[in-house]
Amino acid sequence: MILSLSDIKKSYQTAEGRTPVLGGVSFVLARGESLALTGESGSGKSTVLHLAGGLDKPDSGTILVNGRDITKLDDVGRADFRRTDVGVIFQQFNLIPSLDVRANVSFHAKLARRFDPLWEGELVEALGIDQLLRRYPEQLSGGQQQRVAIGRTLAARPPLVLADEPTGNLDERTADTVLDIMLRLTKSAGIALLLVTHSRRLADRLDRRITLTSGKIAA
């Protein structure tokens, strides 16, 4: 088991007081497996991803990654965890504007000391961004930026990849291609994938699918 969430509760402080978002979420993800997380907008999918990626802390419950409870880690421990054990592909790409595409792609891999030029070359080609390596993020379209963000995470080859609607900005055909590539690459590198999407069609192409409704995983 690479990832296991049990009874995760999370609420946010808003102007109207505490608003519960997750009311006891539990699920598991096996090594190398791909899992689709679907749900309506605002149902808490991104929240789940952030918690599993060690970017935020749940109010209660445990999150085991590789058998280690990441809710118990301190700031430095969580930073180490984010660097080496997980890769997050954000909904807003979060590229570094002052670095060109090549530097952006290898950034996480170099931080995690897993930089491999051969693997990176393969990735860049597969994602179709090999012509864009010298460009800066602001010179790319949304879809291109998304592919660079995917490349950055996969280049670091973390055992677990968390992707937040990575094809949200792409047209249907490109979305299919990108998902194909992601699945192929994660499978070949033995990477487990948790993918948030609201598209049923895409979700069906993954190994398994779970749905978030009213703060819980529906069976």
Partner: protein
């Protein structure tokens, strides 16, 4: 700390070179103005100290007359006889042709060696110095000015202040017409034990402590303080530029910082990298600033030196020397300034959550709270300023009043504008006008700093302008009164000063001859009589008192404008005997 992350952090500056330039130029200019002013001050002070050491032998104790006058040579003899190891000095201004030189007449044999600024120790030196017509020991510049004005041989020595000459005391006595009266007596450090105390031998003398601050230094203190204050003001305005530049760079990299954190760069590492970056830029631009400051100071020093010479008669060399402590102080002030103006931004990074969503409301809240806090601090500063106006005294209190007033006003400006805009927004009915107020209000946080800097810069500009012009007016008025006269009258004693004053200001019966005769108890028939002090001839003069200067006997006084004479002239406008 990771080099990959650090490199990525720094790549921002390659990506935004204009921002980099603003930051570096801001720190560099701030440092340059500040350290330039400091360099001028340091140079001037050092030269006062040097001059005092060389000319006044102020590293030793000195005896001066309590009444400020001269010391008779008998007093000196009494001290020597009592066994005191003392050395006489006669000093005064003497004119060689057009060149006025401060003569320092010393006795090379009795002058303690630690106070000997020039060496006349070898036998042949000694013979040259005391023998024959004597010898003037001067700086190279003074020697050039003295060329062909005197028959006394001139010797050049290094490290002598300009406009001063060492000479044998006998020659000085003769040139200055002192009849053996001394200006002061230098007391050697080593004395025989068990001597009769000086107060007992010569009660009319006062002991001046060694190392006392030279007179010029005290005179010029406020001048240098003013320079420092202006330098500091310039520095503060420069810091506003730096604050804006760092603020912008932090704001633009907010997303990058978040990405760093989410990819596993710890908060500690990120803050450390930003701190290193800040320090690196501070040192780099500080170094540029110090170099610039050196040029600023060298460009300004001749002017400042001329002002100091004109105002206080203080001699400051026109060339700047490089001092290591000056470099270090410049770098330190750049570092302190940059870190101070980055501290708030660093703090925000430290408090920033990784996830962007949590940011916005917190940001808005902080903004409102910040405005209220800012207004309170501003109000406190203004109150302090008002309080200081009432209770404060002296120059430093004045500066404190100005500082608190300026900072308080600057701090209160943005909250006040915000309040006005909220009011405007509430009062407006039309959507477009409503939007105008709302939009302007939204611009405020970004603009408030620039507005504050502008306010400070403007008030500094007006303040400096007013101050400089009022200073200039006062100075010109003063010059008009004392220096721009057609004729300068030097009086030898009080009576002469009185007659001279009466002559220039008084009606006809105040004419000198009249006074002179009245003093003698004689009432002359002709009130227009004037007696020349030099040749003692009396003449009848025309009604115009100014003509009195020209006695028709060839004893006309110099008409040359002479600042020193006028300066020493005190309030009466005529110079007392010295």
């Amino acid at each position: 700390m990771s080099w990959v992350a650090f490199g990525a952090l720094l790549s921002h500056w390659r990506y935004k070179p204009l921002q980099l330039a603003t930051l570096i130029v801001g720190v560099a200019l701030a440092t340059a103005l500040w350290s330039g002013v400091q360099a001028i001050n340091a140079e001037a002070r050092a030269s006062y100290g040097r001059a005092a050491a060389v000319l006044e032998q102020n590293q030793l104790e000195q005896l001066v007359a309590k009444d400020g006058g001269r010391i008779s040579s008998q007093t000196y003899t009494k001290l020597r006889r009592a066994g005191w190891n003392v050395s006489p000095v006669i000093e005064g201004d003497h004119r060689f042709g057009q060149t006025r030189v401060r003569l320092i007449g010393i006795d090379p044999l009795s002058m303690p060696s630690e106070a000997q600024a020039v060496s006349v120790s070898s036998a042949s030196d000694l013979v040259d110095f005391v023998g024959g017509p004597g010898q003037l020991i001067v700086s190279a510049a003074t020697a050039a000015r003295l060329k062909d004005t005197t028959s006394i041989p001139v010797r050049i020595a290094a490290d002598l202040p300009e406009g001063a000459a060492f000479i044998d005391i006998g020659v000085a006595d003769r040139l200055l017409n002192r009849n053996g009266e001394l200006s002061r007596i230098v007391v050697a450090r080593s004395q025989r034990p068990g001597l009769e105390p000086i107060e007992a031998i010569a009660p009319e003398l006062a002991l001046k402590d060694a190392g006392e601050q030279p007179n010029v230094a005290r005179l010029t203190d406020s001048f240098h303080l003013n320079l420092t204050a202006f330098g500091f003001l310039a520095f503060v305005v420069g810091l506003f530029i730096v604050y804006s530049a760092t603020g912008l760079s932090f704001e633009q990299r907010r997303g990058t910082f978040r990405t760093f954190r989410s990819l596993g760069v710890s908060l500690h590492a990120l803050t450390a990298m930003l701190l290193v970056e800040t320090i690196f830029f501070a040192l780099l631009s500080g170094a540029i600033g110090v170099v610039l400051g050196y040029f600023v100071a060298s460009a300004l020093l001749p002017g400042v030196a001329a002002t100091l010479r004109g105002l206080y008669g203080a001699s400051v060399p026109g060339a700047l020397s490089l001092r290591p402590e000056w470099w270090l102080a410049g770098l330190a002030i750049a570092l302190i300034g940059t870190v101070l103006s980055s501290a708030q931004h660093l703090w925000r990074v430290w408090k920033m959550p990784i996830l962007a969503a949590a940011q916005h409301r917190a940001w808005a809240m902080a903004s409102l709270k910040g405005l209220i806090g800012q207004a309170s601090i501003g109000a406190i500063l203004l109150l302090t300023s008002g309080l200081l106006i009432v209770v404060g005294k002296g120059l430093y209190a004045g500066f404190a009043v100005l500082a608190t007033l300026l900072m308080g006003t600057a701090l209160i400006l943005p909250p006040m504008l915000a309040a006005v805009m909220i009011m405007g927004q509430k009062a407006s009915k039309h959507v477009l006008i409503h939007w105008f107020w709302a939009d302007t209000r939204q611009q405020l946080p970004g603009l408030s700093l620039a507005l504050m800097a502008l306010l400070l810069a403007l008030s500094a500009n007006i303040g400096v302008g007013t101050m400089v012009s009022s200073f200039r007016q006062t100075f010109l008025g003063w010059l008009d009164q004392r220096l721009a006269a057609e004729v300068y009258v030097t009086a030898r004693d009080e009576f002469e000063a009185g007659t001279a004053t009466a002559m220039v200001s008084g009606p006809r019966d105040g004419y000198p001859a009249d006074l002179e005769y009245r003093r003698r108890g004689v009432r002359p028939a002709d009130a227009d009589l004037w007696r020349c002090r030099r040749c003692n001839l009396s003449r009848s003069l025309a009604a115009d008192p100014w003509v009195a200067n020209d006695m028709g006997c060839g004893c006309q006084r110099s008409r040359r404008v002479d600042q020193r004479a006028a300066l020493a002239g005190g309030q009466s406008g005529a110079r007392g005997a010295n």
